[in-house]
Amino acid sequence: MRLFKELKQSMANDWGGSKPPAAEEDKEFLEKKDKINELEQQIINASQQAETLVKAQQDMGETMGELGLAFIKLTKFENEQAVFSSQRVRAADMKGLATAAVKASRFYRELNAQTVKHLDTLHEYLGLMLSVHGAFSDRSSSLLTVQTLLSELSSLQSRAEKLEAASSKIFGGDKSRLRKLEELKETIRATEDAKNVAIREYERIKENNRTELERFDQERRADFLNMLKGFVVGQVGYAEKIANVWTKVVEETNGYANDST
């Protein structure tokens, strides 16, 4: 019975019918809800781009490894077939590059494993968003209950007023009408009680939501900051390692630097 009334109430709300008393507070809440939705969209977007970044890093590592392998084969070939010393020199140079490429490839792979771990935080928070939505819908349905009861109460009271007015006109009282009135007053009292319970429940949920959202915001900020730090530290560390690997090859082939135009 109540479900049907709540449906009628939510429809009345939608049609701009009787305005529930909590309208003002709802505006703040609606703004908060919009912000959370916007945040969710951006987290989805960032999480997708993070996946693409991870894939690109992985591919880079793989290709670097393949390049190293191709040069290892060339080195082996030149050494096996060497007729001139220039070939052996070239083989040594290429081996330097091959070794560096294989090392760099390994570093890209390791970096990527770390990147995945850190940026996973974005994916995690997408999951956590579900519970936020759950909390929002709890509040909405609780508010709907309150609104339904309020409007029911209001219509019961106006019916009671009408009955009282009608029975007072009849001298000596109207037994059936009076009985109806008594029943109605009972119903009103019960509905009052239900309304009070619902309002308390609504207030409880509202307060819960507020503290939960605050906690969610705090934790999210801390987690995201950690994510950024971890991501950046990883990038710095591995970029340095990769730079070292190539710097060694630069030093080993420095003799050619003077000959290049």
């Binding site: 690109a56 077939q81 290429m94």
Partner: protein, 398 residues
């Protein structure tokens, strides 16, 4: 660098003063797109600076197009058998239609290297065709170019197949089933080396090209990631929002560095490897020429023997055909000796060329590998530096 490298690349001490030392420098510059649609082509400015006495003057500027370079290469290939003619960039029907800035620059670079290699080769630099190429006016060049295209439709390849068929036919006529080939084990080894080298180099070039693509892809993903993170920062606001925003900005900046490195790798790493492959393919063409020269030498020697036998027979019978036969025999003998000289010259040249080739390739590769490592080190250091600059800000936020 080690002592072996030094001994290869130590500059020769010239007793002459710098001003009297002969030089020939060429630069291929200023590509300009001419014509429309499918007829479009690129013209280049070719600037020559020289003190060679055979040249018209110390400096000359001409306008040349790709097919002129092809003409030069074909002429040198025909005239200087045994020498590894420097390779020319491929004709690309697809790219030509698009004519991207990238393609134009790569082609210009390759053509510049091509001409300079010819100019610095002690024999090729004396070529009359080179002088024509560097000095003739455009009308003359066009005339020569169109004339040659009629004869050499597809330079090496088609002629090669034709010659192969020719020699196979004559082999059958002379009663041989297998084509005549040299039996020099060292030369066999060299041929085998060249064929296998091409495969290894092609693989290395392929991976180099993939590496270029990976840099582009990583660059793109950093750019997209940066944008997404900045939007997220706007949502968050406060210290976290700022941190996101700065991370996003850094990510976008690094994206640009990666795109630049991709471009650099294309020009300075993949292209030299492609050039190496082309050089090896050019050697294969020379190997084919040597095989032809060998076959011709053998054919003429065989034919000469037969003619000698016939002449002896005629002399014994005191035939009045002796005179004619003698003349024919002498002609054939001269031709045969010429063919032998040609073949032996090719062998001698190739032996010198392979030494030069290996030395030059070690030098070329050394420079290429050095530049590659430099670029990668620079990129990695830039990446480290960019991300590192964020750390104090991130520390302050938490």
């Amino acid at each position: 660098m080690n002592s072996t490298q030094k001994s290869l690349f130590g500059s020769t001490q010239s007793p002459r003063s710098p001003s009297s030392k002969p030089f020939l420098y060429v630069s291929v510059t200023d590509p300009v797109k001419l014509g429309n649609g499918v007829q479009a082509y690129i013209s280049y400015r070719v600037i020559t600076k020289t003190n060679f006495p055979e040249y018209q003057g110390p400096e000359k500027i001409v306008i040349r197009r790709y097919s002129d370079f092809v003409w030069l290469r074909d002429r040198l290939f025909e005239k200087y058998k045994g020498i590894f003619i420097p390779p020319i960039p491929e004709k690309s029907a697809v790219e030509k239609f698009r004519f991207s800035a990238e393609f134009i620059e790569m082609r210009r670079q390759a053509l510049d290297i091509f001409v300079n290699r010819i100019a610095s080769h002690h024999e090729l630099q004396q070529s009359e065709d080179l002088r024509t190429f560097l000095q003739a006016d455009e009308e003359t060049m066009e005339r020569l170019r169109s004339y040659e295209i009629g004869i050499f439709k597809k330079p090496s390849d088609l002629m090669q197949i034709f010659k192969d068929v020719q020699s196979k036919v004559s082999d059958v006529v002379l009663g041989k089933e297998k084509p005549v080939e040299e039996s020099d084990p060292e030369y066999e080894k060299m041929k085998q080396y060249i064929f296998e080298l091409e495969n290894h180099l092609a693989e290395a070039q392929k991976q180099a090209y993939h590496l270029v693509k990976r840099h582009r892809e990583l660059g793109q993903s950093l750019s997209d990631f940066g944008k997404a993170v900045k939007l997220l920062g706007t949502c968050e606001g406060n210290a976290l929002g700022k941190a996101f925003s700065e991370l996003g900005t850094k990510s976008e900046a690094l994206s640009i560095k990666l795109q630049r490195e991709a471009q650099r790798l294309l020009m300075n790493f993949e292209e030299p490897l492609k050039d190496y492959v082309r050089a090896v393919q050019s050697i294969r063409a020379t190997i084919a020429e040597r095989a032809n020269a060998f076959r011709r030498q053998c054919e003429l020697a065989e034919t000469m023997k037969l003619k000698e036998i016939n002449l002896d027979k005629l002399m014994l019978t005191r035939s009045d055909k002796v005179g004619e036969a003698e003349r024919e025999y002498n002609e054939l003998k001269a031709e045969s000796e010429q063919a032998t000289r040609t073949f032996e010259n090719i062998v001698k040249l190739m032996n010198e060329e392979i030494v030069r080739f290996q030395e030059h390739k070690t030098l070329d590769m050394g420079i290429t590998l050095h530049e590659f490592a430099k670029g990668q080190a620079r990129l990695a250091n830039d990446v480290a530096g960019a991300w590192r600059s964020l750390l104090p800000k991130l520390e302050a936020s938490s």
